[in-house]
């Protein structure tokens, strides 16, 4: 099926989300839409999927114009969409989820799932999906849940599949599997619209790359184009993707973690007997697939977790058992994983958020009384220094974009002398331009002699920042490897292989030269 979008314009009031976008998806082609958050990719796809009426423009299916009144029409025309956040009922089985919306029934409205199960098995076998139709969705790994979503589209005879940021939630291995599946679907004559901002994946799988910026198509690129080229197109200026980073000059080891164990409320060990050190002037990156104890590790260090045993020392002082405030006062800077939930008070002003953990210290407070002047002065300085794009210091922090919110959090944490800096997912949901800036600040903090711990699920970020990499799997440390280690070794470790085995495996392949 050939799909054409001609001059699609979508306005929301005065805002032009899509500005006469042309896009042609040929049959059996993987067409990537590359663009930053907010470039208008999702709006375009929602127009295509019938969720929005285009203000202007036309959609052609096999050269004949169509109008979609809703997703139902789009599905009937052979367009399927896999959303970034799965649209599955967690307590239903795969078959029930697939049947949902076009259930086959027997007499008296009895649900007939037999046919659906058969279809799932058929598709699963055809593409090697390995999906059990009777497994409850919430018990399935994320990668398999995603395949249930794809099956949902295929059962409805989709010829064009839209995948919206499908790799965001996957492990490197699952990502590779998905890219493989996309290849098979393509070979089978299906077309795929692949929405992403991850350059490596886009390059690996695409036939055509369309770059979108500020609602406009700014160019079409060949998959052979370099990542730097693609990034510049995407951001609209030259971006240095490789961080200019001097080798670390580790100093004295001031931060030590010994036998740290964290129990969850259900008694499960979410952090299991971790021991590691971080020296002044080095960055230790903690890698791992989301949910393998990284969150609990950082929270345990910050005193935000109950049921912590073991020891965490900073400059010889024990931190376990101290209050969060005492730990902050001890000079620990912390950028939490989810800035809108833990990092900022969205309804507070930017100025207030910039003193969120220093509001009761001089010069912001004298006794119980706070000084609004000092708070505002501090805000003015930090907004200028960190180039925070906000209407004013008294704008609510929740109105800022992700990148600017993160700058506020970073500015706050870096504004006091630090003995340790911990950042969890420092650039999640942040635009490319800000990532560069934030990374530079983190490296600058390292060069200033602070021990730095970065927790990230993005391998690119880990490899870019780390001097050493610790990999967590199910709360356990798989080992600590140098920052120059290969992506493949990390991938194995993230899947639960201890460092020495993983290194050995690649030693065999490459003749022991790492």
């Amino acid at each position: 099926m050939k799909l054409e979008l001609i001059g699609i314009t979508k306005r929301f009031g005065s805002l032009v989300a899509n500005d006469s976008i042309d896009l042609v998806v040929e049959p059996g082609q993987v067409h990537s839409l590359l663009g930053e958050n907010g470039a208008g990719k999702s709006t375009l796809m929602n127009v295509l999927y019938g969720l929005y009426d285009p203000t202007d423009g036309q959609i052609l299916v096999n050269d004949s114009p169509v109008t979609f009144k809703g997703p139902g029409d789009a599905m009937a025309a052979g367009i399927g969409m896999v959303h970034q956040h799965f649209m599955l009922v967690p307590v239903f089985t795969g078959a029930e989820n697939v049947a949902l919306g076009n259930e086959a029934t027997r007499t008296a409205g009895m649900l007939n799932l037999r046919e659906t199960r058969a279809r799932i098995r058929e598709i699963s076998d055809q593409y090697g999906f390995d999906v059990d139709p009777d497994a409850v969705v919430e018990d399935l790994p994320v990668g398999v849940q995603q395949r249930v979503e794809i099956i949902k589209a295929l059962v409805r005879d989709a010829e064009v599949l839209i995948l919206d940021e499908p790799t965001a939630v996957l492990t490197p291995k699952e990502t590779d599997e998905l890219l493989g599946i996309m290849g098979q679907l393509k070979a089978d004559g299906k077309s795929i619209v692949f929405i992403s901002h991850k350059l490596r994946e886009v390059k690996a799988v695409s036939d055509v790359i369309t770059v979108v910026r500020r609602g406009k198509v700014v160019g079409t690129a060949d998959p052979t184009a370099s990542t730097t080229e693609l990034a510049s197109l995407m951001v609209g200026r030259s971006v240095s993707l490789t961080l200019d980073k001097q080798p670390a000059a580790p100093g004295e080891t001031t931060f030590r973690v010994r036998n740290l164990t964290v129990h969850a409320a259900n008694g499960q060990r979410v952090v299991d007997d971790l021991s590691f050190d971080v020296a002044r002037g080095e960055i230790l990156a903690v890698a791992g697939v989301q949910g393998n104890g990284q969150t609990e590790l950082t929270e345990a260090i910050m005193g935000l977790q109950d049921h912590v045993s073991g020891s965490v020392t900073l400059g010889g002082d024990e931190l376990v058992g101290r209050s969060v405030k005492q730990i902050i006062r001890a000079g620990v800077g912390f950028v939490p994983e989810d800035r809108s939930v833990e990092g900022l008070v969205g309804t507070f002003t930017v100025a207030e958020n910039l003193v969120l953990n220093r509001y009761d210290t001089a010069p912001f407070a004298k006794g119980l009384s706070m000084s609004p002047t000092a708070v505002d002065r501090n805000a003015g300085e930090k907004i200028a220094e960190y180039d925070v794009r906000t209407q004013s210091a008294s704008a609510a922090a929740g109105t800022l974009s992700g990148g600017n919110q993160q700058k506020v959090v970073m500015a706050r944490e870096f504004s006091r002398p630090l003995e340790l800096f911990i950042a969890s997912q420092p650039t999640r949901g942040v635009d490319v331009g800000s990532i560069e800036f934030l990374h530079r600040r983190i490296v600058a903090e390292r060069d200033g002699g602070t021990p730095v711990i970065i927790v990230s699920t993005e391998l690119d970020e880990v490899l870019e920042l780390a001097d050493r990499i610790a990999v967590l799997y199910r709360g356990r440390l798989m080992g600590i490897v140098p920052g120059t280690v290969s992506r493949d070794v990390l991938g194995l470790m993230m899947a639960g292989m201890p460092a020495d085995e993983a290194l050995a495996q690649f030693d065999d392949v490459r003749g022991g030269n790492l």
Binding site: N37, H83, R237, S323, V345, G346, Y359, P372, T399, G402
Partner: protein, 470 residues
Amino acid sequence: MSPQEDRPVPDNAEPKDDGGGSPTRRQARATARQDEVRQENEVETAGGEIPPPAAPVSAASRTTDEASEASLLERVMTGNALVAFLSVVLSLIIGGLLIALTDPEVARTSSYFLGRPQDLLGAAWSAASGAYIALFQGSIINFEADSFSRMIYPLTQTLTVATPLICAGLGVALAFRAGLFNIGAQGQILIGATFAAWVGFTLHLPVGLHLLLVILAGVVGGALWGGLVGLLKARTGAHEVILTIMFNYIATNLVLYLLTTPGFQRPGSTNPISPQLDSTAVYPLLLGSQFRLHWGFVVAVVATVFVWWLLNRSTVGFELRAVGANPSAARTAGINVNRGYMVAMAVAGGLAGLAGVAQVAGTERVLTSGVAASFGFDAITVALLGRSSPWGTFAAGLLFGAFRAGGVTMQASTGTSIDIVLVVQSLIVLFIAAPPLIRALFRLPAPGAPRSQRRGRSTNRTSASTGAAA
């Protein structure tokens, strides 16, 4: 990368299907809106050479699908001032209609409505306007009175009645700001009044000191009663709504019981009533003996200033607001959330206790089980109408004081039941709790939408042109 930030989303997207649709559609629409907002917010600028864009979206317009109970409460409690005002206006109009509907003259003329409709309309108008004029005369200025003091007497009555409403309302508002739904002002007033009354009639102290101790005892009593709720919530995780409701029952019955014990019951009386407070223990009258207005009103004004300072200028208030707006972020920033709950409930209780003092040391001068009247519950309405801000609560307290004071006059002079005041008060709450209703009726724009659109446009234009220049 998961762009799942809980960001405000303007309501200007117009998906075709607005009937809710399947979860899929709703989610997809939400995603699309986020995308669009992000675009608006994140006006991509050529690498920092462009001045900061101005594309804020009203924080009040959070319409993410994760809208939790907390954010709903927040929305109701800190709604738009215009909505609050229009709610009052609309409630008064409906109240007027009800007055007209229940008027006997209107009922009589309706029998020959088709023959002479002007009779009915005239009767309806005079019933409603008469009642409201009486309400006004009973609460602000009685312009038919012969002397100046008679003329302003209603106003002083309003201020007197408003005093406990303001104090207790401030307590409820403060707790709201810390994210706590404090239903317990009633019990806190009662316990505060009990403490204050006991000091007032048991101890015999010199002028000045005695009143000071009475006030202090009232505040401590209320603070204990409120603080206990905070402590239980912090220690056991019990919900403050359940706790405060139960504490109200306990307080009511505790006071009833105490009034039968020798320590509290008036000697020689079999009624549940305490001895009179000493004359040294009561608030002096503010404007002389012609008026009931006492110094408690001044205390209420001071309390309002104090709460304003506490919330907006003190580290304690910063903590409370942070705990109320986002407990996770507060905790991560080293703020002790549980202590915040305790402090908020204790201060809230103390303020309610002050309302109890205003009753026993101001107007009643004795302790009875009915000393709190329904002030504790009206205080919730007052805080709601005042959008949980100190001066808003003050103003709302005055308005409700006027309703109460004027309602009596209205009933006496026009025969309109004082219950109509209760209806109007209830309608106000109803409308404030349902802002979309008010917006639809008065054709107000949805929060944030058009304004942010306008700003968004100007921003885009500015940055685009600057971008071209750069």
